[in-house]
Amino acid sequence: MAKQIKKKTNKKKNMLNGAEIVLAAFEKEGVDTIFGYPGGAVLPLYDALYDSPLKHILVRHEQGAVHMADGYARANGRPGVVVVTSGPGATNTVTGLATAYMDSIPMVVITGQVPTALIGNDAFQEADIVGITRPCTKHNYLVKDVRDLAGIIKEAFYIATTGRPGPVLIDLPKDVQTAVTEFVYPDKVELTSYHPTYKGNPRQIGKAVDMILASKRPLIYAGGGVISSDAAKQLKTFAEKLSIPVTTTLMGLGGFPGTHPLFLGMLGMHGTYAANMAVTHTDCLIAVGSRFDDRVTGKIDEFAAEAKIIHIDIDPTSISKNVSVDVPIVGDVSGVLTNMQKALPKTTTSYKKTLKPWVDDIAKWNKVHTLKATQDMKKRIRPQYVVDRLYKLTKGDAIITTEVGQNQMWAAQFFKYDKPRTFLTSGGLGTMGYGMPAAIGAQVAYPNKTVIDIAGDGSIQMNIQELATAVEYKLPIKIAILNNRFLGMVRQWQELFFDKRYSSTCLGKKPDFVKLIEAYGGVGLRAEKPADVDKVIKQALKINDRPVIMDFIVDPKECVYPMVPAGQPLSKMLLV
C-alpha cells in the first residue's frame, strides 16, 4: 500500500524523496562537483546520483574528500561539497572539517546516518557526528523530517558562504533520504539569530582614516580575510594611494602581489626580517582580515607595541581577542576598504612625503637580511632552490598547495604569489596530508591550470591514497617532494631547542616515491643533484594527463630561517 502511494505521488510534479531533494537543492545552489565516498547509510543518495548530471569525484578516503572540497573552494571561491556515509565515513571527515573551520573555508558536508528509529541505539556504523563536529563546524544539522530538508540545505549554503565563511555539516538519516515530500526550494533564508555585519561603521572608518593620516610609520598587516572577501584589488588600491607597506600572514599570501615594491613578505615566526622589524616599529598597524594568531605575533605584549591598532574583520570575536584594538571595524574587508578609500583626501602626495624616513628604515632592514635561494651546484640540493626554480620555471603562473612543516614555509617564502587563491595551505590547523587532495580539488576547479603540491616526504604519506583519485580522473597535479628523509620541522625544533635529540623524526629513505606513483599509474621523476632540478621540473610541467611526483632528494640539514622561537618577540629573530 505504502509503495503504491509513493509511486502515485512521485508522478506528481515536485514530489521527491530526500535523496532527490539533496541533488535538486545542489543544482539550485550551482554545485557542479561532489567529492565523496559511498556506504550503507548513503545508498539512496548514491542511487539518485546515478542519474544525475552532477560530477562526482570518487575519493579513496573521506579525509581526502573534505580536503579536495576545501582546495576546490579556496581555488575558486565557491563552497566545496562532500557526501560520505555514516559512522567511520563521517568521523573521517573531522580533520578536514577542523582544517576548513580554522581557515574559514565555505563547505557543505553531507553525512549519511542510520535510520531515525535506530539513532542512539549503537547501530552498525552509527556515530553521533553532530555531537562530534559541533566545535569544528560553523553550524551543523541533524535532519529528522524530510519536510525540513530543503530549507536546511538552503540555510547550510547560506551559513557556509556568508559572514566569516566555514564548513556546515548536515547529518541525513537513511529513512529521510527515502521519505517523499513536495520539493519547494526557498528563495531566501530568514534566520532570526544570524545577521553578519557587512557594512563597516562610517564613524569608525572616519576615525581609522584620521589615525592613518596622522601616523608616520603605518603598516598594513593583511590576512586570509582579504582573500575570502575577494578584496585583493581594494587592498592594492588603498596601499598604493598612501604608499603604505604591506605584510601578510601565511593565509594572506596572494592577497597582495608578492612582487609589489610595497610588499615586505610574510610576517611572524618565519616572516622576513623587514616585515618583523616593520611590525615592531610601526606606529599604526592596520590589520585587515587577520586574527593576531600566535604564529604571527610571537610574544603578544611586544607585538606592535609602539602602534595604534586598527582592526577590520567580519568576525567580531576576532577583534580584541588577543590584543587590544584602538579602532575596531566590524565588516566585510572589501566594502570597508572601499569606504576607507573614499574617505581619503584627493591628493596624498604630502602624506607620502612624510613617510620617507619610514621607507628608508624598511629599505635598510631589507638589506640586513633577505631570503636567499642560492645553490652551490656541487653540493646537495637545497629545498629553497627547488621552490625558487618552481617559481621561475612556471613564471609564477600556478596554483600552489602545500603540506605542513618546512615545505609549507619554504613554499611561502620562495614562491611569489601575485594573485589571490593561488596559494592553498592549512594555516590554522596545520594539517599534514592536506596538500595533495587540495591540489586535486583545485585541479578539478581549474582543469587547465598548473597545480603543484609542494610537499615533504612525511606529509605526503598522510593522504597518499588519493594518488589513485588523481590517476582515475586524469588530473595532472604535480607533487614536488622536498625529500629530506626527516619530519623536517620537528627535527628543526629538536636541533634548536632539544639538544639535537632527534626523537622519532627520522623517516629514512622510504618509500621509493618514483616506484610508488608508477604503481598507481602516474609518473615518477627524481632529482638527486642540483643540475637535475630544472630538467625534472620542465619534464613534469609537460605532463597533462596524469599526476606526477618530482622526488627532490634535498639536504636534510636545511632549516627554515628566519625563525622567531615560540613565545619570543618578533624582533628576536634567528637569522643564520
Partner: protein, 166 residues
C-alpha cells in the same frame, strides 16, 4: 580594560531546538570559560528559550564570552545584565535537622525570610526559599547550625529591571 575578575550574569535568548544547550555548554568548556550556574527554560514564545548563565572573568573574557555566544547560529540575543540593574533569584530546597527543641526557632527563621516548610519528617524540615544571592546566603548561614542534611539549588535566573521613568 579592567583585568580584575568579576562575576557576570548573562541572559541568552536562544532558539528552542535540541542541541542548543550542548552548543552553549560546549562553547564554554572548549574555550575554557567558566560556568558557575546555568538555568534554562522555554519563554512565553515556545520557539525560544531563555538561558541564564553566571560566569566569572575579566573584561576581555566577558567580552569574548558575549561575542562568542552571539556567533552561535542558535543564539538570538545576549544580554550581560551585570552592567545595569537586574533582579536575580534562586530557588533553594534545604532539608534541615529539626529536633523538637529546634522547631520553633526554625519556624521563626522561615517566617522572617518568607520561606516555607514544604515537607516535614520525624527529624527534618524541608524548607523552600526564593531570593537573591545575599538572602540565600544569609538564610543558609542561619540554618547551618541546626545541621543541613541536603541542599538543592536551581542556580540564578535573572531579569533586567524596567526602565524607570522620570
Amino acid at each position: 580594560m579592567n583585568n580584575k575578575e568579576h562575576r557576570h550574569t548573562i541572559s541568552i535568548l536562544v532558539t528552542n531546538e535540541f542541541g542548543v544547550l550542548t552548543r552553549i555548554a560546549g562553547l564554554f568548556s572548549g574555550r575554557g570559560f567558566n560556568i558557575e550556574s546555568l538555568c534554562v527554560a522555554e519563554t512565553s514564545d515556545p520557539k525560544t528559550s531563555r538561558m541564564t548563565i553566571v560566569t566569572t572573568g575579566d573584561d576581555r573574557i566577558i567580552e569574548q564570552i558575549t561575542k562568542q555566544l552571539n556567533k552561535l547560529i542558535n543564539v538570538i540575543k545576549v544580554y550581560d545584565l551585570t552592567g545595569g540593574e537586574f533582579l536575580g533569584r534562586e530557588l533553594v530546597l534545604v532539608k534541615v535537622f529539626a529536633g523538637t527543641e529546634d522547631r520553633a526557632e526554625l519556624l521563626s527563621i522561615v517566617d522572617i525570610f518568607r520561606a516555607s516548610v514544604v515537607d516535614v519528617g520525624p527529624k527534618t524540615y524541608t524548607i523552600e526559599l526564593t531570593g537573591d544571592e545575599s538572602k540565600v546566603r544569609a538564610f543558609m548561614d542561619l540554618v547551618r547550625p541546626f545541621g543541613i542534611k541536603e541542599v538543592v539549588r536551581t542556580g540564578r535566573i535573572a531579569m533586567a529591571r524596567s526602565q524607570k521613568t522620570r
